[in-house]
Symmetry: C2
Subunit: 191 residues, 2 copies
Protein backbone atom coordinates (compact mmCIF):
# COMPACT_ATOMS: atom_id res chain seq x y z
CA UNK A 1 0.00 0.00 0.00
CA UNK A 2 2.69 2.47 0.98
CA UNK A 3 4.73 1.40 -2.00
CA UNK A 4 1.78 1.93 -4.33
CA UNK A 5 1.09 5.44 -3.06
CA UNK A 6 4.70 6.42 -3.17
CA UNK A 7 5.19 5.17 -6.72
CA UNK A 8 2.11 7.05 -7.85
CA UNK A 9 3.51 10.22 -6.33
CA UNK A 10 6.81 9.58 -8.03
CA UNK A 11 5.04 9.18 -11.37
CA UNK A 12 3.28 12.50 -10.88
CA UNK A 13 6.42 14.33 -9.83
CA UNK A 14 8.45 12.93 -12.70
CA UNK A 15 5.67 13.83 -15.14
CA UNK A 16 5.54 17.41 -13.84
CA UNK A 17 9.27 17.74 -14.26
CA UNK A 18 9.39 16.25 -17.76
CA UNK A 19 6.22 17.92 -19.09
CA UNK A 20 7.55 21.23 -17.85
CA UNK A 21 10.99 20.80 -19.40
CA UNK A 22 10.01 19.58 -22.84
CA UNK A 23 6.24 19.67 -23.16
CA UNK A 24 3.44 17.12 -22.81
CA UNK A 25 3.43 16.08 -26.46
CA UNK A 26 7.17 15.54 -26.60
CA UNK A 27 7.36 13.17 -23.61
CA UNK A 28 6.68 9.49 -24.20
CA UNK A 29 5.42 7.03 -21.63
CA UNK A 30 8.67 5.04 -21.94
CA UNK A 31 10.76 8.06 -21.04
CA UNK A 32 8.50 8.87 -18.12
CA UNK A 33 8.68 5.26 -16.92
CA UNK A 34 12.46 5.33 -17.09
CA UNK A 35 12.56 8.47 -14.93
CA UNK A 36 10.37 6.72 -12.37
CA UNK A 37 12.42 3.56 -12.53
CA UNK A 38 9.74 1.16 -13.83
CA UNK A 39 8.59 -0.25 -17.19
CA UNK A 40 6.15 1.72 -19.32
CA UNK A 41 3.13 -0.61 -18.96
CA UNK A 42 3.41 -0.36 -15.18
CA UNK A 43 2.47 3.31 -15.37
CA UNK A 44 -1.06 2.21 -16.22
CA UNK A 45 -1.46 0.72 -12.78
CA UNK A 46 -1.48 4.28 -11.47
CA UNK A 47 -3.05 6.35 -14.23
CA UNK A 48 -5.52 5.23 -16.85
CA UNK A 49 -3.83 7.21 -19.60
CA UNK A 50 -1.32 9.91 -20.35
CA UNK A 51 -4.17 12.39 -20.42
CA UNK A 52 -5.36 11.21 -17.01
CA UNK A 53 -2.00 12.22 -15.57
CA UNK A 54 -2.15 15.66 -17.13
CA UNK A 55 -5.67 16.10 -15.83
CA UNK A 56 -4.65 15.40 -12.25
CA UNK A 57 -1.76 17.86 -12.46
CA UNK A 58 -3.89 20.63 -13.94
CA UNK A 59 -6.96 20.28 -11.73
CA UNK A 60 -4.85 19.97 -8.60
CA UNK A 61 -3.35 23.34 -9.38
CA UNK A 62 -6.73 24.85 -10.19
CA UNK A 63 -7.98 23.92 -6.73
CA UNK A 64 -4.89 25.34 -5.10
CA UNK A 65 -5.47 28.69 -6.79
CA UNK A 66 -9.12 28.82 -5.73
CA UNK A 67 -8.35 27.93 -2.14
CA UNK A 68 -5.53 30.46 -1.85
CA UNK A 69 -7.72 33.20 -3.32
CA UNK A 70 -10.53 32.52 -0.86
CA UNK A 71 -8.19 32.67 2.11
CA UNK A 72 -6.48 35.85 0.96
CA UNK A 73 -9.48 37.98 0.09
CA UNK A 74 -11.51 37.37 3.21
CA UNK A 75 -8.88 39.00 5.43
CA UNK A 76 -9.17 42.47 3.92
CA UNK A 77 -11.83 45.16 3.64
CA UNK A 78 -10.37 47.60 1.10
CA UNK A 79 -10.51 46.40 -2.49
CA UNK A 80 -6.96 47.53 -3.10
CA UNK A 81 -5.84 45.35 -0.21
CA UNK A 82 -7.97 42.44 -1.38
CA UNK A 83 -6.32 42.70 -4.78
CA UNK A 84 -2.86 42.94 -3.28
CA UNK A 85 -3.40 39.87 -1.10
CA UNK A 86 -4.92 37.91 -3.98
CA UNK A 87 -1.85 38.73 -6.07
CA UNK A 88 0.48 37.56 -3.33
CA UNK A 89 -1.52 34.38 -2.75
CA UNK A 90 -1.42 33.57 -6.45
CA UNK A 91 2.34 34.06 -6.60
CA UNK A 92 2.79 31.90 -3.52
CA UNK A 93 0.89 28.98 -5.06
CA UNK A 94 3.21 29.15 -8.05
CA UNK A 95 6.29 29.48 -5.86
CA UNK A 96 5.29 26.36 -3.92
CA UNK A 97 4.66 24.31 -7.07
CA UNK A 98 6.74 25.83 -9.87
CA UNK A 99 6.87 22.70 -12.03
CA UNK A 100 3.18 21.87 -11.77
CA UNK A 101 2.38 25.54 -12.33
CA UNK A 102 4.28 25.63 -15.58
CA UNK A 103 2.43 22.53 -16.79
CA UNK A 104 -0.85 24.10 -15.70
CA UNK A 105 -0.16 27.27 -17.71
CA UNK A 106 1.47 25.80 -20.80
CA UNK A 107 0.12 22.29 -21.33
CA UNK A 108 -3.56 22.52 -20.41
CA UNK A 109 -4.56 22.60 -24.10
CA UNK A 110 -3.72 18.91 -24.36
CA UNK A 111 -6.56 18.03 -21.99
CA UNK A 112 -9.29 16.03 -23.65
CA UNK A 113 -12.99 16.75 -23.53
CA UNK A 114 -14.98 17.17 -21.40
CA UNK A 115 -12.11 18.19 -19.14
CA UNK A 116 -10.81 20.82 -21.51
CA UNK A 117 -14.12 22.64 -21.36
CA UNK A 118 -14.35 22.35 -17.59
CA UNK A 119 -10.82 23.67 -17.28
CA UNK A 120 -11.57 26.73 -19.40
CA UNK A 121 -14.69 27.39 -17.36
CA UNK A 122 -12.72 27.35 -14.12
CA UNK A 123 -10.08 29.70 -15.47
CA UNK A 124 -12.69 32.19 -16.57
CA UNK A 125 -14.42 31.96 -13.22
CA UNK A 126 -11.14 32.66 -11.45
CA UNK A 127 -10.35 35.58 -13.72
CA UNK A 128 -13.78 37.06 -13.03
CA UNK A 129 -13.09 37.07 -9.30
CA UNK A 130 -10.18 39.40 -9.94
CA UNK A 131 -12.11 41.59 -12.37
CA UNK A 132 -14.87 41.86 -9.82
CA UNK A 133 -12.47 43.27 -7.23
CA UNK A 134 -11.07 45.73 -9.76
CA UNK A 135 -14.50 46.93 -10.79
CA UNK A 136 -15.70 47.44 -7.23
CA UNK A 137 -12.46 49.27 -6.48
CA UNK A 138 -13.10 51.58 -9.44
CA UNK A 139 -16.65 52.24 -8.31
CA UNK A 140 -15.62 53.33 -4.85
CA UNK A 141 -12.65 55.33 -6.10
CA UNK A 142 -9.76 53.19 -4.91
CA UNK A 143 -8.70 52.54 -8.49
CA UNK A 144 -8.51 54.70 -11.58
CA UNK A 145 -11.21 54.30 -14.18
CA UNK A 146 -9.23 51.69 -16.15
CA UNK A 147 -10.51 49.02 -18.50
CA UNK A 148 -11.01 46.19 -15.98
CA UNK A 149 -10.51 43.46 -18.52
CA UNK A 150 -7.21 44.95 -19.63
CA UNK A 151 -6.10 45.51 -16.03
CA UNK A 152 -6.86 41.87 -15.18
CA UNK A 153 -4.97 40.86 -18.29
CA UNK A 154 -1.87 42.79 -17.24
CA UNK A 155 -2.03 41.29 -13.76
CA UNK A 156 -2.51 37.69 -14.89
CA UNK A 157 0.11 37.92 -17.61
CA UNK A 158 2.62 38.93 -15.00
CA UNK A 159 1.58 36.52 -12.27
CA UNK A 160 1.36 33.55 -14.60
CA UNK A 161 4.92 34.07 -15.76
CA UNK A 162 6.45 34.22 -12.27
CA UNK A 163 7.54 30.58 -12.42
CA UNK A 164 10.30 31.84 -14.72
CA UNK A 165 11.86 33.76 -11.87
CA UNK A 166 12.83 30.64 -9.94
CA UNK A 167 15.25 29.30 -12.52
CA UNK A 168 17.29 32.46 -12.93
CA UNK A 169 20.83 33.01 -11.75
CA UNK A 170 20.12 36.53 -10.50
CA UNK A 171 18.28 35.33 -7.45
CA UNK A 172 15.35 37.34 -6.20
CA UNK A 173 14.08 36.97 -2.66
CA UNK A 174 10.60 35.48 -2.45
CA UNK A 175 9.11 37.76 0.25
CA UNK A 176 10.48 40.88 -1.37
CA UNK A 177 9.34 39.75 -4.81
CA UNK A 178 5.68 39.31 -3.86
CA UNK A 179 5.54 42.82 -2.55
CA UNK A 180 7.55 44.38 -5.41
CA UNK A 181 5.40 42.83 -8.11
CA UNK A 182 2.21 43.85 -6.34
CA UNK A 183 3.54 47.42 -6.07
CA UNK A 184 4.58 47.56 -9.73
CA UNK A 185 1.14 46.42 -10.82
CA UNK A 186 -0.72 48.74 -8.48
CA UNK A 187 1.42 51.85 -8.89
CA UNK A 188 3.54 51.42 -12.03
CA UNK A 189 7.12 52.51 -12.46
CA UNK A 190 6.75 56.18 -13.23
CA UNK A 191 7.74 58.73 -10.58
Amino acid sequence: METTISTKQKVKQSAQKLFRERGYAAIGMRELAKAVGIQAPSLYNHYKSKDDLLREICFDMAHRFFNAFGGAVIKEKLFSNKLKEAIKAHIDVIASNPEAAEVFFNEWMFLEQPYLLEFKKMRLEYEMKFRNIIEKGITNGEFKNVNSKLAAFVIFSTLNATYELYSTKEKILQEQMDEDIAQLLLKGIKS
Copy 2:
Protein backbone atom coordinates in the same frame (compact mmCIF):
# COMPACT_ATOMS: atom_id res chain seq x y z
CA MET B 1 9.22 30.09 -59.97
CA GLU B 2 6.23 31.98 -58.69
CA THR B 3 4.56 28.72 -57.82
CA THR B 4 7.59 27.58 -55.86
CA ILE B 5 7.75 30.75 -53.81
CA SER B 6 4.06 30.80 -53.15
CA THR B 7 4.00 27.19 -51.99
CA LYS B 8 6.85 27.88 -49.60
CA GLN B 9 4.93 30.80 -48.15
CA LYS B 10 1.87 28.62 -47.82
CA VAL B 11 3.91 26.00 -45.95
CA LYS B 12 5.14 28.64 -43.54
CA GLN B 13 1.72 30.13 -42.96
CA SER B 14 0.10 26.74 -42.42
CA ALA B 15 2.89 25.78 -40.03
CA GLN B 16 2.44 28.97 -38.02
CA LYS B 17 -1.27 28.33 -37.74
CA LEU B 18 -0.94 24.67 -36.76
CA PHE B 19 2.04 25.08 -34.42
CA ARG B 20 0.19 27.86 -32.67
CA GLU B 21 -3.04 25.90 -32.30
CA ARG B 22 -1.68 22.60 -31.06
CA GLY B 23 2.08 22.94 -30.53
CA TYR B 24 5.16 22.06 -32.56
CA ALA B 25 5.59 18.57 -31.12
CA ALA B 26 1.95 17.61 -31.71
CA ILE B 27 1.91 18.48 -35.42
CA GLY B 28 3.14 15.90 -37.89
CA MET B 29 4.55 16.60 -41.32
CA ARG B 30 1.65 14.70 -42.91
CA GLU B 31 -0.92 16.93 -41.24
CA LEU B 32 0.99 20.02 -42.27
CA ALA B 33 1.25 18.75 -45.84
CA LYS B 34 -2.48 18.13 -45.93
CA ALA B 35 -3.18 21.71 -44.81
CA VAL B 36 -0.94 22.96 -47.62
CA GLY B 37 -2.51 20.63 -50.15
CA ILE B 38 0.56 18.55 -51.03
CA GLN B 39 2.12 15.23 -49.99
CA ALA B 40 4.40 15.10 -46.95
CA PRO B 41 7.68 14.39 -48.78
CA SER B 42 7.11 17.47 -50.96
CA LEU B 43 7.54 19.67 -47.89
CA TYR B 44 11.23 18.83 -47.99
CA ASN B 45 11.61 20.69 -51.27
CA HIS B 46 11.02 23.87 -49.28
CA TYR B 47 12.49 23.18 -45.84
CA LYS B 48 15.28 20.79 -44.94
CA SER B 49 13.51 19.59 -41.82
CA LYS B 50 10.70 20.30 -39.41
CA ASP B 51 13.17 22.12 -37.22
CA ASP B 52 14.28 24.25 -40.17
CA LEU B 53 10.72 25.53 -40.51
CA LEU B 54 10.50 26.41 -36.84
CA ARG B 55 13.83 28.17 -37.06
CA GLU B 56 12.67 30.42 -39.88
CA ILE B 57 9.48 31.35 -38.03
CA CYS B 58 11.31 32.16 -34.80
CA PHE B 59 14.23 34.10 -36.23
CA ASP B 60 11.98 36.08 -38.56
CA MET B 61 10.07 37.29 -35.52
CA ALA B 62 13.26 38.05 -33.61
CA HIS B 63 14.39 40.35 -36.38
CA ARG B 64 11.03 42.08 -36.50
CA PHE B 65 11.26 42.85 -32.80
CA PHE B 66 14.76 44.27 -33.10
CA ASN B 67 13.88 46.44 -36.07
CA ALA B 68 10.73 47.79 -34.45
CA PHE B 69 12.61 48.62 -31.26
CA GLY B 70 15.32 50.53 -33.10
CA GLY B 71 12.79 52.62 -34.99
CA ALA B 72 10.72 53.42 -31.90
CA VAL B 73 13.44 54.42 -29.48
CA ILE B 74 15.32 56.78 -31.76
CA LYS B 75 12.35 59.15 -32.04
CA GLU B 76 12.26 60.10 -28.36
CA LYS B 77 14.53 61.88 -25.90
CA LEU B 78 12.92 61.17 -22.53
CA PHE B 79 13.46 57.64 -21.24
CA SER B 80 9.83 57.35 -20.21
CA ASN B 81 8.83 58.15 -23.77
CA LYS B 82 11.42 55.77 -25.19
CA LEU B 83 9.99 53.03 -23.01
CA LYS B 84 6.45 53.85 -23.97
CA GLU B 85 7.25 53.80 -27.68
CA ALA B 86 9.23 50.56 -27.35
CA ILE B 87 6.23 48.99 -25.62
CA LYS B 88 3.89 50.09 -28.38
CA ALA B 89 6.27 48.91 -31.10
CA HIS B 90 6.55 45.51 -29.46
CA ILE B 91 2.77 45.18 -29.24
CA ASP B 92 2.42 46.22 -32.87
CA VAL B 93 4.81 43.52 -34.07
CA ILE B 94 2.69 40.94 -32.26
CA ALA B 95 -0.54 42.42 -33.55
CA SER B 96 0.74 42.19 -37.13
CA ASN B 97 1.87 38.57 -36.73
CA PRO B 98 -0.19 37.00 -33.96
CA GLU B 99 0.26 33.39 -35.08
CA ALA B 100 4.01 33.63 -35.65
CA ALA B 101 4.32 35.52 -32.37
CA GLU B 102 2.65 32.75 -30.41
CA VAL B 103 4.98 30.19 -31.99
CA PHE B 104 7.93 32.45 -31.20
CA PHE B 105 6.94 32.70 -27.53
CA ASN B 106 5.76 29.16 -26.87
CA GLU B 107 7.62 26.81 -29.19
CA TRP B 108 11.17 28.17 -29.33
CA MET B 109 12.39 25.48 -26.93
CA PHE B 110 12.09 22.92 -29.71
CA LEU B 111 14.85 24.66 -31.66
CA GLU B 112 17.94 22.51 -32.02
CA GLN B 113 21.50 23.56 -31.27
CA PRO B 114 23.27 25.76 -32.14
CA TYR B 115 20.13 27.76 -32.94
CA LEU B 116 18.63 27.31 -29.49
CA LEU B 117 21.65 28.99 -27.94
CA GLU B 118 21.65 31.79 -30.48
CA PHE B 119 17.95 32.35 -29.87
CA LYS B 120 18.41 32.65 -26.13
CA LYS B 121 21.27 35.07 -26.65
CA MET B 122 19.10 37.31 -28.82
CA ARG B 123 16.26 37.30 -26.33
CA LEU B 124 18.56 38.31 -23.52
CA GLU B 125 20.07 41.04 -25.65
CA TYR B 126 16.61 42.40 -26.42
CA GLU B 127 15.57 42.27 -22.79
CA MET B 128 18.72 44.18 -21.82
CA LYS B 129 17.77 47.03 -24.16
CA PHE B 130 14.60 47.52 -22.13
CA ARG B 131 16.39 47.23 -18.80
CA ASN B 132 18.89 49.76 -19.97
CA ILE B 133 16.16 52.32 -20.62
CA ILE B 134 14.60 51.61 -17.24
CA GLU B 135 17.89 52.00 -15.42
CA LYS B 136 18.76 55.27 -17.13
CA GLY B 137 15.27 56.53 -16.37
CA ILE B 138 15.78 55.68 -12.72
CA THR B 139 19.12 57.47 -12.66
CA ASN B 140 17.71 60.70 -14.02
CA GLY B 141 14.58 60.52 -11.86
CA GLU B 142 11.94 59.75 -14.47
CA PHE B 143 11.23 56.41 -12.84
CA LYS B 144 10.96 55.25 -9.25
CA ASN B 145 13.85 53.35 -7.78
CA VAL B 146 12.40 49.96 -8.74
CA ASN B 147 14.18 46.66 -9.31
CA SER B 148 14.91 47.01 -13.03
CA LYS B 149 14.97 43.28 -13.65
CA LEU B 150 11.58 42.86 -12.02
CA ALA B 151 10.15 45.86 -13.86
CA ALA B 152 11.36 44.44 -17.19
CA PHE B 153 9.84 41.12 -16.20
CA VAL B 154 6.42 42.69 -15.55
CA ILE B 155 6.57 44.54 -18.87
CA PHE B 156 7.61 41.54 -20.95
CA SER B 157 5.18 39.18 -19.28
CA THR B 158 2.38 41.48 -20.26
CA LEU B 159 3.56 42.30 -23.77
CA ASN B 160 4.36 38.71 -24.62
CA ALA B 161 0.84 37.62 -23.77
CA THR B 162 -0.93 40.23 -25.90
CA TYR B 163 -1.48 37.76 -28.73
CA GLU B 164 -4.23 36.35 -26.49
CA LEU B 165 -6.22 39.54 -26.87
CA TYR B 166 -6.89 39.03 -30.56
CA SER B 167 -8.90 35.84 -30.17
CA THR B 168 -11.34 37.14 -27.59
CA LYS B 169 -14.99 37.89 -28.13
CA GLU B 170 -14.90 41.10 -26.10
CA LYS B 171 -13.09 43.02 -28.80
CA ILE B 172 -10.57 45.62 -27.79
CA LEU B 173 -9.51 48.36 -30.16
CA GLN B 174 -5.89 48.12 -31.23
CA GLU B 175 -4.93 51.82 -31.02
CA GLN B 176 -6.59 52.25 -27.67
CA MET B 177 -5.08 49.04 -26.38
CA ASP B 178 -1.46 50.03 -27.06
CA GLU B 179 -1.90 53.18 -25.08
CA ASP B 180 -3.90 51.61 -22.24
CA ILE B 181 -1.38 48.85 -21.65
CA ALA B 182 1.50 51.30 -21.72
CA GLN B 183 -0.32 53.48 -19.17
CA LEU B 184 -1.12 50.56 -16.88
CA LEU B 185 2.51 49.50 -16.87
CA LEU B 186 3.86 53.00 -16.38
CA LYS B 187 1.36 54.27 -13.83
CA GLY B 188 -0.46 51.25 -12.37
CA ILE B 189 -4.12 51.09 -11.51
CA LYS B 190 -4.22 52.74 -8.12
CA SER B 191 -5.73 56.21 -7.84
